[in-house]
């Protein structure tokens, strides 16, 4: 075990994957010699050569298209999109191509092995073009898998599972945790399976569900709730697509209440999907309406970021309201 921050854990995962499998190749804007603007690919070019870790021209649609082509040949591209806010020029290549490659060809061709890594989320005074959380845009797309880690340990295990996956994966990295989140991380290779949520804390009154950087916000909120005698069960969803319905159903069946928190705007966010599914599966167990604590339905602001975000106080209030309903 070694103490790592999330960037180091990601760098370490990439390093292990490249060492293990010569078909793993990392690229993206500034990813090469410089190691990426956040330094997630630091030293990989030095170690594995310019052919396997390199800068691309500044074109996200090109990066995604190039990655699709490379993966369809059987290699394992790990492509970085510099900020998740800039993944949209690649939307067609991801949603119409990556996601449908295997299906449309009857499995003659596929892009399993392809991973898009991208720093995402707010909390860094980035305004609306360096703060977006676009997971829900992709979650409506059969054929993709989506994962979001909450800490360095999770980041390494989920990223290694993504690279090993036979399906294409979008890996969203909460950038505000890059240096802020640190922890013990095993030095050897390990995977954390995709599609499996984790019950981080058991509780009996209400289930609190989140992913990525919102987990620590929820932890603060449930501490406040605990001080008022409310026992919360905390679940880290970890994978958005496919998502672990059964773990959430089991929890809500027990607690009868659900509060979902995400950074992205409320309307059309992934909390909607979860709430819709859970109200259906747990109808007779629900003791209060499922609550969603999310960003406002506006672009991510700059000056009023604090007001905008789904913070611990709003989450705490939603927990209390759910229990008192």
């Amino acid at each position: 075990m070694a103490k790592m921050n999330m960037l180091q854990a990601i760098n370490n995962a990439l390093d292990l994957a490249m060492a293990k499998d010569s078909t793993v190749v990392c690229f993206g804007e500034d990813v090469g010699h410089f190691g990426g603007v956040f330094r997630a690919t630091s030293k990989l070019q030095e170690k594995y050569g310019k052919d396997r870790c390199f800068n691309t021209p500044l074109t996200e649609q090109g990066i995604a298209g190039f990655a699709n082509g490379m993966a369809s040949q059987g290699m394992k591209p790990v492509a970085e999109i510099q900020f998740a806010d800039y993944i949209f020029p690649a939307f067609d290549q991801i949603v119409n191509e990556t996601a449908k490659f295997r299906y449309r060809s009857g499995n003659e061709f596929n892009v399993g092995g392809l991973v898009f890594r991208t720093p995402y989320g707010g909390g860094i005074a980035g305004g609306h073009y360096h703060s977006q959380s676009p997971e829900a845009y992709f979650a409506h797309t059969p054929g993709l898998k989506i994962a979001v880690p909450r800490d360095p340990y999770q980041a390494k295990g989920l990223l290694l599972a993504s690279i090993a996956s036979e399906d294409p994966v979008i890996f969203f990295e909460p950038k505000k945790l890059y240096r802020a989140s640190t922890g013990e991380v095993p030095e050897e290779y390990y995977e954390i399976p995709l599609g499996v949520a984790e019950v981080m804390q058991e509780g009996k009154d209400v289930t609190v569900l989140a992913w990525g950087a919102q987990i620590e916000i929820c932890q603060k909120a449930i501490e406040m709730a605990a001080a008022q005698g409310i026992s919360c069960e905390l679940i880290d969803l970890r994978s958005i697509l496919p998502w672990d319905v059964e773990t959430v159903v089991k929890s809500v069946t027990k607690t009868g209440r659900l509060v979902i928190n995400h950074e992205a705007p409320l309307t059309g966010g992934f909390a909607g999907e979860i709430a819709a599914t859970i109200q259906q599966r747990c109808f007779l167990h629900l003791e209060s309406p499922i609550a969603r604590v999310c960003g406002l339905d506006t672009p991510y602001p700059l000056a009023l970021e604090r007001e905008y975000v789904a913070d611990h106080l709003k989450t705490f209030e939603a927990i209390v309201a759910s229990v008192k309903f």
Binding site: G65, G69, E97
Partner: protein
């Protein structure tokens, strides 16, 4: 170049524009309409067997197109796309490749597909979306593909295969394969952002791709002069520091020669090459289209004279490699064969219900299994409403 701007710097002191047509690229022509070689031109080396395979691929496709368009008109298939007038461009280029060079096409390259060995049955199974279709009946007619013969399954969104070809070829290079990728697209698709991204990345990352633009004058109803103002597509190559060559797309010898040369260059240097074929889309865009709304019969007639097949046929006849009568008989026979194959394929069952959810992922995710189970229960309740699947559910 050593300056950081990656631009050669030669100084002038008077402001003057470089013209938008400063670069003009000539068109390679070898074979004349009458089947003879242009004075001064030399036919590429071609053995008889290859030449006949080329010819038979073209004539097969010509007959198939004719028949299947008719089948569409009869309502037997839902959609079709001909390649009339462009057979030489795709067959001639495919013939210049190695069998394991990847082909990434747009949709009008059935000539290349046939040259690679796609069988009549395989064509039919795809066109009828039946359970023998390699694509499991999931895509519209003409969206062919086969891993065995290195022909990437067609995808409708235009231009998307262009950066993919760069990535595919880069992977070939990394694996040390002695193969290139050919990437076909229309002059219309060349307006997509993916064109720019793909060509630039192939040049920067040194990926051995032959970018083959079929400039056939139209993108559905949009004529090329409403598509771009440059001199064709080939001149764009300088923007990427890429070599370019333009050929008469109805001249199979020119196409073959240029592609062969481009392939050698790409393989040797890992640099991509841009090829532009100048031909004419003689048929409608697709079975849903009627070109009389946007172009004149006269224009069409003029280009009809420019037939790529008859030219090559005359050349082969003159060489004594083809027998006129035997060839005519063979084409007659082919017509019958196609009709037979069509009748067989249209009776083959559609894919089973499990293929509604297979291949979305390598293994179905639980939610898809749940949805399939629910659907099966529903179909069992209303078998008559779902006649394709209800009779044969496990």
């Amino acid at each position: 170049m050593t300056n950081p701007n990656n631009a050669t710097i030669s100084t002038v002191h008077t402001a003057e524009f470089t013209s938008g047509h400063a670069l003009q690229i000539p068109t390679l022509r070898i074979l004349q309409d009458d089947g003879t070689i242009y004075p001064g031109a030399v036919a590429p080396e071609l053995d008889k067997e290859t030449a006949l395979k080329m010819y038979h691929s073209m004539s097969f496709i010509r007959v198939l197109d004719e028949r299947m368009l008719a089948a569409q008109r009869q309502g037997r298939i839902s959609f079709y796309m001909q390649c009339l007038g462009e057979e030489a461009a795709t067959v001639g280029s495919a013939a210049a490749l190695d069998d394991k060079d990847m082909i990434m096409a747009q949709y009008r390259e059935q000539g290349a597909l046939r040259y690679r060995g796609f069988s009549l049955e395989q064509f039919m199974n795809q066109l009828f979306s039946n359970e023998k279709d390699l694509g499991k009946g999931r895509q519209m007619p003409v969206h062919y593909g086969s891993k065995d013969i290195y022909y990437m399954t067609i995808s409708s969104p235009l231009g998307t295969q262009i950066p993919q070809a760069a990535g595919y070829a880069y992977a070939q290079k990394l694996r040390g394969l002695a193969n290139v990728t050919i990437c076909y697209f229309g002059e219309g698709a060349a307006s997509e952002g993916d064109f720019h991204a793909g060509l630039n990345m192939a040049a920067v990352h040194k990926a051995p791709v032959l970018f083959f633009c079929r400039n056939n004058g139209y993108a559905i109803s949009t004529p090329a002069n409403e598509q771009f103002k440059g001199d064709g597509i080939a001149c764009r190559a300088v923007g990427y520091g890429m070599k370019a060559i333009r050929v008469d797309g109805a001249d199979i010898l020119a196409v073959y020669q240029a592609t062969k040369m481009a392939r050698e260059y790409a393989l040797e240097t890992n640099e991509p090459v841009l090829l532009e074929s100048i031909a004419y889309r003689l048929g409608a865009h697709s079975s849903s289209d009627d070109p009389s709304g946007y172009r004149s019969k006269e224009e069409e007639e003029q280009w009809r004279k420019n037939d790529p097949i008859s030219r090559f046929r005359l050349w082969l006849l003159a060489k004594g490699w083809l027998d006129d009568e035997a060839d005519k008989a063979q084409i007659e026979a082919l017509r019958a064969e196609i009709l037979d194959a069509l009748k067989v394929a249209e009776k083959v069952a559609k894919p089973g219900i499990e293929h509604l959810i297979s291949d979305v992922y390598a293994e179905p995710i639980p939610e898809l299994e749940r949805q399939l189970a629910e659907l099966k229960a529903h179909i069992r309740k209303y078998p008559d409403a779902y006649p394709i699947t209800s009779g044969r559910m496990s």
